[in-house]
């Protein structure tokens, strides 16, 4: 369904300023955390962010889906038995 007449280069050109701005927001946000007065109490969140950034660098489709799953609590298909629902 992606427009057949839009090449990857055209998509990049349409997105470049937007993506550049968002990458800078991420970088500036991480710098802001580093400048915080006290050491981080919650190292787990930063670890998850690191995983998300590593996901961006890996090739392959569905990066957004993979990062969403990284941010998600696990699902167990035995939940109904466990909860007795």
């Amino acid at each position: 369904m992606n427009r057949a007449d839009r090449s990857a280069q055209q998509v990049l050109e349409a997105e470049v300023l937007n993506l550049r701005a968002k990458l800078l927001e991420v970088a500036a946000g991480l710098d802001r955390i580093d400048r915080g007065a006290e050491p981080l109490a919650d190292a787990g969140t930063m670890e998850t962010f690191r995983g998300a950034i590593e996901t961006l660098l890996r090739p392959g489709p569905n990066r957004a889906e993979r990062i969403q799953l990284l941010f998600s609590r696990a699902y167990e298909d035995s939940w109904r038995e466990n909860m007795e629902v």
Partner: protein, 270 residues
């Protein structure tokens, strides 16, 4: 372009917002019952809320030529109070035959607890008994994937439920596929920070096609933008998508889904 916002909480918005929506091309809204920002104390509080949804809101929308439809339930955030939830579920049938009431919603999960699942199942029972359509809220942020899978388990575990009459809302990249693959309708909510952006919603239309996909603003009392659906229309146009495709998602799809409800009497705008 004329469009329908299939999920917006207009009781939390001003009359000026109705006027703005009308100017942007909105011809109809559907408003699921939801959490007021505080837990209501009694079944009478819900009765008053349902009166507002079925009597005053359609009138207020009508001042600007917008058709107003609604869904009734007790929200998952209040489901921890199981006894109150049962009182509300028992009371809902008083309103189900009113004009514009499309069904039961937005039911669902919030923190994916046992009580929430129990109340969700009892809402499903009511919907089956009254042959009502169902609109489902899926949880926020880190709870969404787990909660959506639990909801799909409960829906799929009941063979009486017609999947084509169920809308699973607030889908994102990690939940849209299972919802569509299991035969349900999927709603994408456009929010400023959480949920979807207009561009990510357009991505999902490109990846999965327009069938059984809806977009909504879920405008409410929190950070939200009631004119988010026109933002989606603009995002699709900027990518060069046809007006016919956009119209299918923002107008024809909601019409097709809502038309399965006996109380949906839509007047085509001239």
């Amino acid at each position: 372009m004329q469009y329908i916002d299939p999920h917006i909480h207009m009781v939390s918005r001003t009359t000026d917002d109705y006027e703005t929506l009308a100017k942007m091309g909105c011809v109809a809204v559907s408003e699921p019952a939801f959490w007021a920002g505080y837990d209501r104390g009694s079944v009478e509080g819900f009765r008053d809320y349902f009166e507002q949804l079925t009597e005053f809101e359609p009138k207020r929308a009508g001042w600007y030529g917008i058709q107003h439809y609604t869904w009734l339930c007790i929200n998952a955030k209040e489901a921890e109070n199981v006894s109150l939830s049962r009182e509300v579920i028992d009371m809902i049938p008083e309103f189900l035959d009113r004009p514009g009431v499309l069904g039961i919603g937005e039911i669902g999960l919030n923190k994916n607890t046992r009580n929430e699942a129990t109340v969700f199942l009892e809402h499903l029972e009511l919907a089956v008994r009254t042959q009502s359509q169902i609109l489902i809220h899926t949880p926020h942020l880190e709870d969404k994937y787990q909660g959506t899978r639990m909801i799909l388990d409960m829906l799929s575990g009941d063979s009486r439920i017609d999947r084509t009459r169920v809308l699973v809302d607030h889908v994102e990249e990690h939940t849209v596929r299972p919802v569509l693959e299991e035969g349900f309708w999927a709603g994408m909510t456009l929010y400023p920070v959480s949920k979807c952006t207009p561009d990510r919603a357009a991505d999902m239309v490109e990846m999965y096609g327009p069938e059984r996909l809806l977009v909504n603003s879920a405008g409410d009392w929190g950070p939200s933008k009631p004119t988010a659906v026109p933002d989606f229309i603009m995002a699709m146009r900027k990518r060069g998508h046809s007006e016919a495709l956009i119209r299918q998602v923002v107008y024809e799809n909601p019409l097709k889904f809502f038309s399965q409800s006996a109380n949906f009497e839509f007047q085509v705008a001239k």
